[in-house]
């Protein structure tokens, strides 16, 4: 079966801008041209990152990182990117537990806005919050992950990593395995990869597929993504793919009745040693992290050169440097 992610058909002249501000709320607003520009400026930024040399690009600019959900990796990655560009960086952590009832997101944002800032990076456990905030502030907003919706900087980093390690994305055979239904990374990645001409297959139990892919009356089926929901078919696809992207399984999916247990998932859908060595010893492997070792993938495979997981993390900093520069200066 093949399904579509409701992708825009003609997308050549749109840049990621909303009025005068360059928000980065999702990858859907990026033209192919801007994606190419971001990839190229990331190549340059990577040199600074590797040599740890600061450049004055954002000197005097204040960036606020506001995280309503903990994520050390993403937060630190943005912070490193900002500091290499000489920006002043303020971290605000607001775990959802400490939001007192009745205290609104907008009140919090207004308080922070009063200290003065040039860019706001937002992470929130509810989809769409970066849009709510972008409606109400006068600085560019960067989405650092909003629940199941989008994770544009992660996705751009993944694209960059694929380009660097595998070359041109067009016609690459990419297999995405796992919880596509609840994954912001999958949502953003599928959008970008399809537009860049990759050959995408998604493999997951039907319970972890988006509703519109499962419900048969979906008439907007544009046949851009192939769906596999039997693990044996997934195995034969593994043998024919250039790259496999594994998605993290959240334990709460068990409570929602999507899966019987992690053991079953690992047996049916995990990248085990035997699957890897027998079916696809040359395949490249990506995972947005953090990995549930032994569930999505056997830990032994993680240390092989096939795994691009470390590169995904490293490339995150230079890609975020390009994004900050693009959003604040352009």
């Amino acid at each position: 079966m093949t399904y579509d992610m409701n992708l825009p058909s003609n997308h050549s002249n749109i840049d990621f801008q909303e009025g005068k501000l360059n928000h980065l709320l999702d990858v859907d607003s990026l033209s192919l041209n801007s994606i190419e520009n971001l990839i190229q400026s990331t190549d340059l930024a990577k040199k600074n990152f590797v040599s740890k040399t600061k450049i004055p690009t954002l000197k005097g600019k204040t960036i606020v990182n506001i995280f309503f959900e903990n994520s050390t990796r993403t937060r630190v990655s943005f912070e490193q990117a900002g500091k290499l560009l000489s920006a002043d960086f303020i971290n605000v952590n607001i775990p959802s537990s400490s939001m007192t009832k009745g205290e609104s997101i907008l009140n919090t944002i207004k308080t922070i806005q009063s200290i003065g800032m040039d860019c706001l990076i937002v992470r929130h456990h509810h989809s769409g919050v970066p849009y709510l905030i972008a409606r109400n502030v006068n600085v560019p907003v960067i989405n650092a992950g909003d629940s199941m919706h989008a994770h544009p900087t992660q996705s751009l980093t993944d694209i960059y990593t694929i380009r660097t390690e595998l070359g041109e994305i067009k016609n690459k055979k990419i297999l995405i395995i796992g919880d596509v239904k609840h994954s912001r990374v999958a949502r953003s990645n599928i959008n970008l990869l399809v537009r860049l001409g990759a050959n995408i297959t998604v493999a997951a139990p039907t319970t972890l597929l988006p509703d519109s892919w499962v419900v048969q009356n979906n008439t907007r089926n544009l046949k851009r993504v192939k769906i596999i929901s039997h693990y044996l078919k997934m195995e034969s696809k593994l043998a024919k793919s250039d790259l496999v992207m594994l998605l993290r399984i959240q334990k709460e999916r068990l409570d929602q009745g999507c899966l019987p247990d992690l053991d079953e998932y690992s047996k049916l859908w995990g990248l085990s040693k035997s699957r890897f060595y027998n079916l696809c010893p040359k395949i490249y492997i990506m995972h947005p992290g953090p990995v549930n070792e032994g569930v999505e993938i056997d830990s032994e495979i993680l240390s092989l050169n096939n795994s691009l997981i470390d590169q995904q993390v490293e490339n995150g900093v230079p890609m975020r440097m390009s994004v900050l520069e693009f959003c604040i200066l352009k």
């Binding site: 989809s127 769409g128 988006p210």
Partner: protein, 441 residues
């Protein structure tokens, strides 16, 4: 007291089979005459409203209104809610019982009725199906009926327990009052916040499948069939629900049903915040919490199906499900935003669009807001232009344009996706008990 003449409007009263241009004479707050044709000259003793080009109809009846009184007066109260109703052309509203306290005992119902004597239009109470709307123990339905309720509902929450639903239907055999079960299976809904489908998948929001609604409707229909109870299905939103209700009516189940203005005129695409358009990429208008409602705005197919259902008489009435919420309750994440659309003031303009587009007839539209709900509450005098009874009328100007904003709304809240939008057609007069209580001209 001066005599009032409503002159030269298109007078429509489906019950009396009137649809002609004529004059309506009101003396001592009562309609004394509906003329055969319009008369050019009226003497000075008459106060003449020139209504040429306008539509004159019986005061509208809303069978599903959340007045939020008592207990949630920061959203709406009896006064503001009935003022909003008057502005929307309604002279009778039926107040949903998700209040605090819940009207699950006769004194609480009588309190509401005492207070409602001072309200701007008729406000009739519902009683709850179960005590405290908890879905566990039946409310004392006979006592609530004697106190004056027009039906029973736990609206906002679904009676999930089939046995309780069955017992309620058994009571309705004698009370003859409708049991109105908010139809959303909470297990299938699974914290869904909008219609399940391509839009929810694109926005990364949890979806509410159509089955969450039609499975409960199907169950309730079967229980009504088995018991012979009286059932009314609120806010029908899916194609499959319409088909189940069609079958139920064919097989003689004692059933009526309603559809809201928003389910008749808006799809899930309204959540993109762009007037129902599908954007190429999401803009900052996306995640419009004012378009969050239970049951959710559905697909194009569903909208077509409910319009057809209304046309074919499968759906009997249009009811607003007017659900005011304060700014704070809507200016938050989509997941946290409270569900509900504030629409009693825009309802008629919204649905009149369907007449403008030839999707339903003017007569069907008016019946679904007058005589049909009057039949359900068994008060025909509220839904028709009876002579020598207190005059309840509404005048609609189909060709004027107006913009919806906080200042034009009388409701305490303004949680509507139509905020800032221009609508065609407006209620210009509402006459309640012979008095002009709303005058837009």
């Amino acid at each position: 007291m001066k005599k009032l003449v409503l002159k030269g409007g298109l007078v429509c009263d489906p019950l009396k089979k009137i649809q002609r241009i004529c004059d309506v004479l009101i003396i001592d707050n009562k309609i004394t005459e509906i003329s055969k044709t319009t008369k050019n000259e009226w003497s000075d003793e008459f106060n003449v409203l020139d209504l040429r080009g306008m539509i004159v109809l019986p005061g509208l009846i809303d069978f599903h209104t959340h007045l939020r009184d008592p207990g949630f007066e920061w959203k709406e109260d009896l006064h503001s809610g009935t003022l909003a109703a008057a502005k929307g052309g309604f002279t009778t509203v039926c107040a949903m019982p998700n209040t605090n306290p819940v009207p699950d005992s006769a004194p609480i119902v009588r309190n509401f009725i005492d207070k409602s004597y001072n309200s701007n239009v008729n406000a009739l109470p519902f009683g709850s199906i179960t005590k405290g709307r908890k879905g566990k123990t039946l409310s004392p339905m006979f006592q609530l009926q004697d106190a004056g309720v027009v039906g029973f509902s736990d609206d906002g929450d679904t009676i999930m327990d089939s046995n309780i639903m069955r017992q309620a239907l058994l009571y309705s055999i004698e009370t003859k009052l409708p049991i109105i079960n908010h139809a959303e299976d909470v297990n299938i809904k699974n914290n869904g916040v909008m219609n399940a489908g391509i839009v929810a998948d694109r926005l990364g929001l949890k979806g509410t499948l159509s089955s969450s609604e039609f499975l409960i409707i199907k169950r309730d229909i079967d229980l009504a069939k088995e018991t012979g109870g009286r059932i009314h299905i609120p806010h029908v939103s899916t194609e499959q629900s319409v088909s189940y209700i069609f079958d139920a009516k064919k097989s003689g189940v004692n059933i009526t049903s309603e559809v809201t203005p928003h389910h008749l005129t808006m799809t899930e695409n309204w959540i993109y915040g762009l007037n129902g358009d599908i954007p190429e990429y999401l803009t900052t208008s996306a995640y419009d919490t004012n378009a969050k409602v239970n049951p959710p705005l559905r697909s194009e197919n569903d909208v077509t199906a409910v319009i057809q259902g209304l046309n074919e008489g499968v759906l009997d009435i249009i009811a607003t499900d007017h659900a005011p919420h304060s700014l704070n309750e809507k200016e938050c994440s989509f997941d946290e935003a409270l569900p509900g659309i504030n629409n009693i003031e825009t309802a008629f303009s919204q649905v009149y669009k369907l007449v403008d587009r030839d999707l339903i007839s003017l007569e069907k539209l008016i019946s679904s807001l007058t005589v049909n709900p009057a039949a359900i509450i068994n008060r025909f005098e509220y839904g028709s232009l009876y002579l020598n009874t207190p005059a309840n009328l509404t005048v609609f100007n189909p060709s004027t344009y107006w913009t919806v904003n906080e200042r034009t709304l009388s409701s305490k809240s303004s949680n509507t996706p139509l905020k800032g939008k221009e609508l065609k057609g407006r209620i210009v007069y509402t006459i309640f008990n012979g008095k002009i209580i709303h005058d837009e001209l």
